[in-house]
């Protein structure tokens, strides 16, 4: 039987962004560019993402509207500056707001983490709660297997949850009958489906997954591995996922102290991950989030180096700017060695 090992070995790669942030840890990380979905062999040349698409004047002829390149590439063939961005800036307190960041860290050459956020903020006369979907996956396996596994898992999960929860919620036909799977079951199916696809497409890779769907103030999570979710309020920070790691089991059995776990030679051994077995046990977690609370999801690159009290403090200090909190947390992990890829999502639910 295949027992899976997690490789921490260095993989040669020519990832530029990774190199840059690795040599300049102090520099604030400007974007979460490494987290963009895989462009599959295509070089991205300022192709605008949905969010950053500039508004065009109304009277622009339709033909011009369709030619992105003409709009952005000047006569000399060089790119010119984009017009100021008009992005959705949801008002803190009324909407779901979030920040996300993934960084290669200081020691690795490649980023095997994957991250995805999808948010729908609505103001409709009929009940339509905010919807947010968040995924953090920490891939493992030599060569490029780790990043492939985490990317595939993230895409499969996002598609399944959006198809089975978000789209049906728009047509008002969700979860109101025992004939349909519960929301918890949809999330579990999504992770199990991702498990099959990863096993099929990346037989030598594996990945953790922690995914959360937030509907109104309700958080539905599905989780495998040691990427964690924390619930943070002014009063407390609580880890709401349970690592599927050998050391965590030993701690639960009082065979190991949390202090010893930090140094344990097998602290990276997981007993559950995607891509290892046809059968995958997925841990569901359901929580009602208090108004204004934060949900933080991160890979072990963060929680191994930043204490939970520090996480809480930074999240609260940057309560109105979760993106800023993500950057400070990643910087802190990098300052302490950045031994692994660091990925974090911070979501704040409405008041």
């Amino acid at each position: 039987m295949d027992w899976f090992r997690r490789f921490l070995g260095l993989q040669p790669t020519d990832n530029e962004e990774a190199t840059e942030s690795a040599v300049q840890p102090a520099k604030p990380i400007a974007t979460d560019a490494p987290t963009q979905p895989n462009p599959i062999g295509k070089k991205e040349n300022l192709a605008p993402s949905m969010e950053t698409l500039p508004k065009r004047p109304r009277d622009l002829p339709p033909s011009e509207l369709d030619t992105d390149e003409a709009d952005m590439i000047a006569a000399d063939g060089r790119t010119r500056k984009l017009p100021p961005l008009e992005t959705v800036q949801p008002e803190v307190g009324h909407q779901l707001v979030y920040g996300q960041l993934s960084d290669v860290g200081q020691m690795r050459d490649n980023n095997q983490d994957a991250v995805l956020s999808f948010v729908s903020s609505a103001s409709l006369s009929q009940a339509a709660p905010n919807f947010g979907l968040f995924v953090v996956a920490d891939g493992m396996g030599g060569h490029e297997n780790g990043e492939r596994a985490s990317a595939i898992a993230t895409r499969v999960i996002a598609k399944h949850v959006i198809d089975e929860i978000f789209i049906p919620s728009l047509s008002g036909e969700i979860g109101s009958s025992a004939d349909r799977p519960t929301i918890t079951e949809v999330l579990r199916e999504a992770v199990q489906q991702a498990n099959h696809v990863v096993s099929e497409q990346v037989p030598d890779g594996g990945t953790t997954v922690t995914t959360a769907a937030i509907i109104g103030h309700a958080a539905y999570l599905a989780h495998v591995g040691d990427s964690r979710a924390y619930l943070i309020t002014d009063e407390f920070i609580e880890q709401i996922t349970r690592d599927h790691s050998l050391v965590q089991r030993l701690i639960e059995l009082d065979q190991l102290t949390p202090e010893d776990a930090v140094e344990h030679p097998q602290r990276n051994v997981l007993y559950r991950a995607l891509g290892q077995n046809d059968h995958l046990d997925v841990d569901p977690v359901f929580r009602q989030l208090p108004p204004g609370a934060f949900l933080l999801i991160c890979s072990d690159g963060l929680w191994n180096l930043v204490k939970r009290e520090e996480i809480q403090q930074i999240v609260l200090e940057e309560r109105d700017t979760p993106q800023q909190a993500c950057q400070r947390l990643v910087e802190m992990a990098n300052d302490r060695g950045g031994t692994d890829n660091i990925t974090v999502i911070i979501v704040r639910v409405p008041n």
Partner: protein, 642 residues
């Protein structure tokens, strides 16, 4: 996952096939002609070979090949030395369950061990090809033999800890004889590669991850192996050290409790709690075998011994913990729960009466007769004060508490088997006529009614801004307080269970075997938990433990985690549990059709005490000031110190 490309030297090149295994008919050491591959592993392969030393007979041997993976020359030499030392130890072993070692040698960076060829299959393969479970006496025989071989190994002049007991290392030959294979000699060549983590194996004892293994680690791994053989659940597919979560007898009821107990003792987390020696475990298994081979009656009694000792009510210990204050006999069965107002208890009975009884003395205050049996719980209108009760005579009654006289009654078109809820100056109740009624308490006139279109037998749950009610059709409907539809959730079958509301979630059971958690804002189902039979019991939420507790017709009381909908514990009674639990001060109180009322520790699901009545108990306990009031089908209302 060993990367073989890192080898500087590729030995025996002419002998190797494309995949690095020896080719058929290659001759090793001028003596062993390879005739087939038995298995391929990360460390090398195992071959079947013919021993050419005996040209006149077909003598087959097994040749185990191991790769010396070290890139460092000194290291390779050192490992070669280790191998020869280990091989010498192995060659000196003599036990019927240990294959004989004939020869060993090394060729460049490959080491070979020549041993007895076993014509058979390993236990892992046997288990994977199995449709049914293996005969218990056969496995028991193997278990005793494995203890014997462990005992032999642990008592060598230099004790040998096997360290790798698991089904794939146990061979069963065509004659049914067992051999322990793979004496960890391959480990000589394993090096702790920095940054590479070796996966957990599922059979290893907790202490094996802390440092050096001990004889008790082999005992744990044997327990893990036997657990898998009887349950056919591969421990590598579960979280480590979770055997206790998969009780053997739940998978395989034919396993005697005594045998299960032996295996679970071997699987204790703490090595000191296990058998001290393999011999001790062997003796325990032999005792089990004698009991199984004994008289038929002995075998039967073995099968019936409950896994935990049961204290009968009436014994010293239990009587000191629970204490009957009084009991009050009515004229027929009490199926429903009680309510309380200023020192008086109210309970309905199948004798048509609503009974008012003084809580401290158990004496009658008054009784109020309806025209048919009562199976609903009363509720109190404090402003009256009146007590509300539904009857099978189609009416909901409001009865004046001081006098015991009728205040008003409201007629429906069917029996009223839905307990009323009084709140906001209104009473909400359902009827078998398919309507949910909201009536003004002052006048007894219906303010509105809503057609759920199926008999309602649960109690409506009234919140700040909505009322939720479950119906026989399986529909759970939410209305606003003016009777306007908000949402509907449809279970597959009848819902009699009254929803428990906690933190914006409604929890209720259904005849479709599921407990549902539904968001009360929109009726979306959050999760569901499947029990073994219909759930009639109304759940109770225990916020301190973050669990929801309910009974089930399968005889169990379940506690399910609110946050991950996994079973936290379950408690077995001797018959269906249709009654609803009550929670108070860390304890769950619940009745069963087995005639008992149980007090269970909410955290662990352990019985604290039980009280036996003379009939099935279907009512929900009512607890006030440390006293539990509960009726039984034996016609009595009991007051018991909680």
């Amino acid at each position: 996952m060993v990367d073989t490309r890192q080898f500087a030297i590729e030995p025996n090149k002419d002998l190797l096939g494309v995949d690095g295994t020896l080719q058929q008919n290659s001759v090793l050491n001028n003596r062993y002609r390879i005739s087939g591959v038995v298995g391929v592993g990360g460390m090398g392969s195992v071959y079947q070979a013919r021993d050419l030393q005996f040209p006149d007979v077909e003598r087959y041997v097994a040749v185990k090949e191991m790769l010396n993976l070290s890139q460092n020359r000194d290291m390779r030499e050192q490992m070669k030395g280790n191998f020869e030392r280990e091989a010498n130890i192995l060659a000196s072993l003599s036990h019927p369950a240990i294959p004989a070692i004939y020869d060993y040698f090394t060729i460049k960076d490959r080491a070979y061990l020549v041993m007895e060829y076993i014509n058979g299959k390993n236990l892992e393969v046997i288990l994977s090809q199995l449709d049914e479970t293996l005969p218990i006496d056969m496995v028991l025989g193997w278990a005793i033999e494995l203890c014997d071989v462990l005992d032999y190994l642990h008592n060598r002049p230099t004790p040998i800890i096997f360290r790798d007991m698991k089904p794939s290392n146990i061979m069963i030959d065509v004659n049914g004889r067992l051999r322990l294979i793979d004496f960890g000699i391959a480990r000589v060549f394993q090096q702790n590669k920095k940054m590479t983590m070796i996966g957990t194996e599922g059979y290893s004892a907790p202490e094996q991850y802390k440092g050096s293994p001990m004889p008790q680690s082999d005992i744990y791994a044997l327990g893990a192996t036997l657990h898998q053989v009887f349950t056919n659940e591969d421990p590598r597919l579960h979280a480590p050290f979770t055997f206790a979560d998969r009780p053997i007898r739940e998978y395989n009821p034919n396993v005697p409790p005594m045998l299960e107990a032996v295996i679970m003792k071997a699987l204790a987390y703490d090595p000191l709690q296990r058998y001290a020696t393999a011999r001790e475990m062997k003796e325990a298994l032999e005792t089990v075998r004698r009991a199984m081979q004994g008289s038929v009656t002995a075998a039967i009694s073995l099968g019936e011994v409950p896994s935990e000792a049961v204290e009968e009510w009436g014994s010293e210990q239990t009587s000191s913990k629970s204490q009957l204050r009084w009991k009050f006999k009515v004229e027929d069965e009490i199926r429903s729960g009680a309510a309380h107002h200023e020192g008086t208890l109210f309970v309905g009975a199948r004798d048509h009466n609503l009974w008012a009884i003084y809580a401290d003395s158990g004496e009658l205050r008054w009784k109020f007769a309806t025209e048919a049996p009562i199976v609903t719980n009363p509720d109190i209108y404090r402003e009256g004060p009146t007590v509300l009760i539904g009857s099978d005579d189609h009416h909901l009654y409001s009865v004046d508490i001081p006098t015991g006289r009728l205040h008003w009654k409201l007629q429906t078109k069917g029996p009223v088997r839905s307990s009323p809820s009084v709140i906001h100056g209104h009473v909400f109740f359902g009827s078998d006529d398919g309507y949910l009624y909201a009536a003004r308490m002052s006048t007894g006139r219906a303010a509105w009614r809503y057609a759920v279109e199926a008999p309602i037998r649960s109690q409506p749950v009234v919140l700040e801004d909505m009322v939720i009610v479950a119906a026989e059709s399986g529909d759970v409907v939410a209305l606003d307080l003016s009777g306007q539809f908000k949402w509907r959730f449809s279970a597959k079958r009848t819902v009699i269970s009254t929803p428990a509301i906690h933190d914006g979630i409604a929890y209720f059971g259904s005849y479709d075997y599921h407990l549902y958690a539904v968001d009360i804002k929109n009726g979306w189902s959050i999760w569901r938990f499947r029990a073994g039979k219909p759930i009639i019991s109304s759940p109770v939420v225990v916020p301190e433990e973050e669990i929801v507790v309910f009974g089930c017709a399968d005889g169990y009381i379940y506690a399910v985690d609110l946050f991950n909908n996994r079973e936290r514990w379950k408690f077995q009674t001797d018959n269906q549990v249709v009654a609803s639990p009550a929670y108070e001060n860390g304890n769950i109180y619940i009745g069963s059709v087995d005639q008992n009322i149980y007090c269970i520790d909410a955290q662990k699901g352990r019985e604290l005490w039980r009280f036996q009545t003379e009939g099935p108990v279907t009512a929900k306990p009512f607890i006030l000031d440390g006293v539990m009031y509960i009726g039984s089908l034996d016609h009595n209302l009991y007051a018991i110190k909680a």
